[in-house]
Symmetry: C2
Subunit: 666 residues, 2 copies
């Protein structure tokens, strides 16, 4: 067997070993005093309780789909097993990542107290690295080994379906959880009771910190696991069509190189007083290694430098989107400053400003995605042979995600630092500790914005690659927009992200409302809480968030699976192609719009809190708080969920592609 094919799962295992090594190094760090251990245990128990209950609910869904896949004509038990493995691997990545993140947070706080900034960065980043390495390790191990066993892309697509299903529920459920807890804690605690953020007297404070983990760590990890796996699978599918076996080999080899480069990159993140620089250095090193090795691999395996150009295009688009995201959401630039200024004339101008910035911010990323698609297609030879071009598009996605191990590490480090700050506050640690975690957290905000740009960009390219795989698998010679069923499909597909966003926003509202009622009840019935003589019932708040998040994630989740299958059966494969294209376009647009509007509102508020336009407590600040609250479900629930919606719908269509035909209506 080819050396690269053998090495793919081995490199996956290597990444996992590295993750365990990193996890063990975190374990060795002292978690601090008893109070810190106690608080940290609350957060850890809450997070794990959410995950295990979420996984229990999902077990039913997975079981049903397993049976369906087994018995649907043309699919069968092999696809079903791949599906099951994809779901299990995604669960495993989420579980391990969370477990380590909830250990790293308290140790980061303690490291900040005992060892200062550098030590704290080291612990927090190690926690992120575990998550990152688990995601890419399990991803490459799964796809690589399943390809070695089955050698059929149709079968291993099941693995992608499993990853996607878990991802959707993790993102939606986690997104609802985190915002319900956040809004509940803020509205009753900060506004009504007048106690500071992260005050241990707030019954929802633990749920709030749990939310950071289940939303930003587990949700984001599952999202990128799905993109990573989906990109490789579509590159295998399209690579086989373009170059035969070598096309698949290159996709797996490149991913392996990305993992090794990411591991090397991790060693370059060393505390030297400037965490931002340190993280950038690690990212740069891993990207450069991947590019250089990818250049030679492209020539060696495929005997052409053209596929390499597609990889560069993918990486470039990712970086450009990240830069544009930063421009529209960071307080250093005009848009956020404008929103802050508009807050002076009240909440309505703040809201209009944020919505308009969010909408405006779609232009740049979309134009560069469009250019990236064309560059990846044409410069990898799409004009002579469309198969080369489509493979190029999937390679752009693989290229963008090849260093995902590093990207996720950098991204997941943020919520760990954020949690560490919360623990420092709750445990009354010295002011300097909070300063360090605040500094780390603020760097984390920038990296989170960049990570979000990557998540959206990779979702767009991965969906497009999966979409191309779909058209090839179904054997559609065209998806013709001059046909009314295709236009009708595009309309319905375009509408789904709007419907989905409305549902997830409503879900946050309902869950937050339940949380508000509970916090109010505790304050009323347990007067000792405010005096500090009674411990609030943290568990009940965690429980309420968990219950409502799990309840509210079901309908949007099922929608994403049922609608494409239903439309495919009713109107046929070509109309479904129109639907996928429609939802791809508006899904990416709405995701950018909502994420960036939310980010801009958030930072406009922080900018005012830093003393501009009257500072904290001013009328402008009140207006900005309104915008920030609107932005919360935008950027942390609805927006990111759309990334997964478009990927999941495409992969569902890809798996069931053989069933559709011309539709029963025609």
């Amino acid at each position: 067997m080819n050396i690269f094919l053998i090495s793919a799962p081995i490199i996956g295992i290597l990444a996992l070993l590295f993750a365990f090594y990193k996890a063990a190094s975190i374990d060795k760090v002292d978690p601090g005093n008893d109070r810190m251990k106690e608080i940290s245990k609350y957060i850890q128990d809450g997070s794990m309780a959410f995950l295990s209950r979420q996984y229990k609910s999902l077990a039913i869904f997975v079981a049903v789909l397993f049976v369906i896949l087994t018995f649907v004509k043309g699919l069968g038990i092999k696809v079903a097993i791949c599906f099951l493995l994809g779901a299990l691997f995604s669960v495993a990545a989420g579980y391990v990542g969370m477990r380590v993140a909830t250990k790293a947070n308290v140790r980061t706080a303690n490291a900040a107290m005992t060892g200062g900034m550098n030590k704290a960065l080291d612990v927090a980043f190690s926690g992120g690295a575990v998550m990152g390495m688990c995601v890419v390790g399990l991803g490459l191990l799964g796809v690589g080994q399943l390809y070695n066993i089955f050698r059929e892309p149709e079968i291993i697509t099941g693995f992608g379906l499993g990853a996607s299903s878990i991802a959707l529920f993790a993102r939606v459920g986690g997104g609802i959880y985190t915002k319900a807890a956040d809004v509940g804690a803020d509205l009753v605690g900060k506004v009504e009771a007048g106690i500071p953020e992260d005050d241990p007297r707030n019954p929802a404070v633990i749920a709030d910190n749990v939310g950071d983990n289940v939303g930003d760590v587990a949700g984001m990890g599952a999202d990128l696991f799905e993109s990573y796996v989906g990109a490789i699978i579509s590159a295998i599918t399209l690579g086989l069509l373009a170059f035969g076996e070598e096309g698949a080999i290159f996709a797996l080899a490149l991913s392996g190189v990305g993992i090794i480069a990411s591991i090397i990159g991790v060693f370059f993140v060393k505390g030297d007083g400037d965490p931002q620089k340190s993280l950038n250095r690690g990212t740069l090193v891993s990207s450069l290694i991947t590019l250089v090795v990818g250049f030679f691999l492209s020539k060696y395996i495929l005997n052409s430098y053209k596929p390499f150009i597609a990889i560069v295009a993918g990486l470039a688009v990712g970086l450009i989107i990240a830069k544009i995201t930063e421009y529209y959401t960071s307080a250093d630039h005009a848009p956020v400053k404008r929103i802050a200024k508009e807050s002076e004339t009240g909440a309505s101008t703040n809201i209009i400003g944020g919505l308009s910035v969010g909408m405006m911010s779609t232009a740049g990323p979309i134009i560069f995605i469009a250019i990236g698609i064309m560059v990846a297609y044409f410069l990898s030879g799409g004009a002579e042979n469309p198969a080369y071009g489509l493979y190029g598009i999937s390679l752009a996605a693989v290229g963008m995600l090849s260093t995902a191990g590093m990207t996720i590490a950098v991204d997941a480090y943020g919520p760990i630092a954020d949690n560490a700050g919360g623990i420092a506050e709750m445990c009354d640690l010295p002011e300097e500790v909070r300063e360090i975690t605040d500094k780390l957290d603020s760097v984390g905000n920038t990296t989170a914005a960049i990570g979000k740009g990557f998540a959206i960009g990779s979702a767009a390219l991965t969906s497009l690659a999966l979409f191309s795989s779909y058209t090839q698998t179904v054997g559609l010679s065209a998806i013709d927009l001059t046909k009314p069923v295709v236009i009708a499909g595009a309309f319905i597909g375009g509408m789904l992200p709007f419907l989905f966003s409305a549902m997830t926003m409503d879900a946050v509202g309902k869950a937050a409302f339940a949380m508000i009622e509970e916090v109010r009840r505790q304050f009323k019935e347990m007067p000792g809480i405010m005096e500090g003589t009674q411990t609030p019932d943290y568990g009940r708040c965690v429980d309420i968030s968990t219950k409502s998040a799990l309840q509210e994630m079901i309908i949007p989740g099922l929608l994403a699976v049922i609608v494409p299958v239903g439309i495919g059966l009713l109107l046929g494969a070509e109309a479904l192609g129109g639907l996928l294209a429609g939802s791809l376009v508006t899904g990416v647009l709405m995701a950018i719009f909502m994420s960036n509007a939310g980010g801009a509102w958030d930072n406009a508020k922080k900018y005012i809190e830093d003393g501009h336009h009257g500072g904290k407590g001013s009328e402008a600040h009140k207006a900005a708080v309104t915008g920030d609250t609107v932005g919360d479900p935008f950027k942390d629930t609805s927006g990111p969920s759309l990334n997964i919606l478009i990927k999941l719908m495409t992969i569902v269509s890809l798996v069931f592609a053989g069933v559709f035909g011309n539709g029963i209506l025609f």
Copy 2:
């Protein structure tokens, strides 16, 4: 020559004669006392000043485009002349309609005082009818006569381009004007100075009333003129391909029937104490006549009942969208009540609620548009011959718009009644007068919602029909979404409505800010205003609104013309097809989202003002005012402008279709 071809322009002239008869009947009504005449003259002068300055700015644009059309290969002077006529006819419709509306408003107020509800309804509705008849009369006269002269759809498409260009600027300019004046008048007058709405001491009060006319009368009229003309032109284009000459004849004949039916319908709107019933009766009568005659005409001219089914589908979709619009935006139903309830917990929950209702409200209309497209296509024979099907889609649009004379009359009556109420307030007329105009105005709000639904539905179908004409004219056998240039086009096209909305929202913000500054200045420098001893400088406020509206409309307007031409030249006709489809889908979605969110916020505020959730002055009310202010540019500027954006881009592409080819990049 065929009798129907001869009669088309004659029926157009008949409609114009009827309009003049109605206008003369309004002239005979007494405009009331000197104070009323004075105020009314301010409004009239302001409106006319805006129109004439707007037309002057547009003259340059029209002249440039005229020259371009004359000299571009394949187009020539005939197309250029048609373009010029289309622009002039649109201007004429807007001018006459506005002139009569600004006469009818004061006379409605006086009629309410002297003759009561029935008389007031009569005058207000007559004003609307003049607008309606001018639009359809000029439309059918223009298209019908130009077809008789040239007999070539490619040439008369120029007429549609003229209508579209004026429409875009009228909608965008009018929309910016009306909201800048509204926000300026409200924020400084109501909130800061504490004087009631429509108080003559408010320097922006005249500009505010002018805004109702230039936005809701002239802007809406130009919008529907464009849809009306565009639908007929695309039905002629596609009818010639499907049925030869008879296909064109049927489209013109059906439009003629619709006009006559509308004239008859006008006579059925008679004051009988219940204005809503009276308006419904008129609409019902004209729809029924059109349907019955259309049924026989379809068999007589085309020898088939199938095209008739498409017409029914179009009308049905229009009515269903209107009903869904009402459900989501009227205080009688759950969504608006929910937003009102959510206002209790503050502005942020009100905003999230409105955004979510707006997004949710896209589902129903989109599903029915999709069904309507397929029904119109397949039941008119698209399966046997695609040409029949595409003709069916254009007939659905013509069917929906055939009774536009009546629809516009009912729609334009609203702002006249609204203006009458303003005049009653400013002239201190007895309380009963205001009660009557309020009743008429509230009926007008419902009809406006229905009219908005029709405008969106007809824009979607008309654009789709124009899009089909485009594909036929360019001779594209397919617009294939599996090609990367088409997907890239769809991404860029889908993004344009977001960019366009951001620009128009920003424009309202800037213009409103200028207005706020001016009103504050006048209050400060002329202390006699508040004491009632000094007349505010109304003219300056009118001037500021005019200037900033005209300035801000230019870039978004040019964008709509330049982008499709640019993409067509760069990437070719097929990529441009993808762009049009992308902007059609997101344009319709965003238009529904923004219009309905705005309508829902507006009525949630009114619902609270009616005494629910604490009523006026409560915290819930304050939150609802925030939502309403956000909703203003949503529903009156950005949302409706999108209708025109998608039509204009399609018609621009259609006119320049011959120039594109495969694009210079490939």
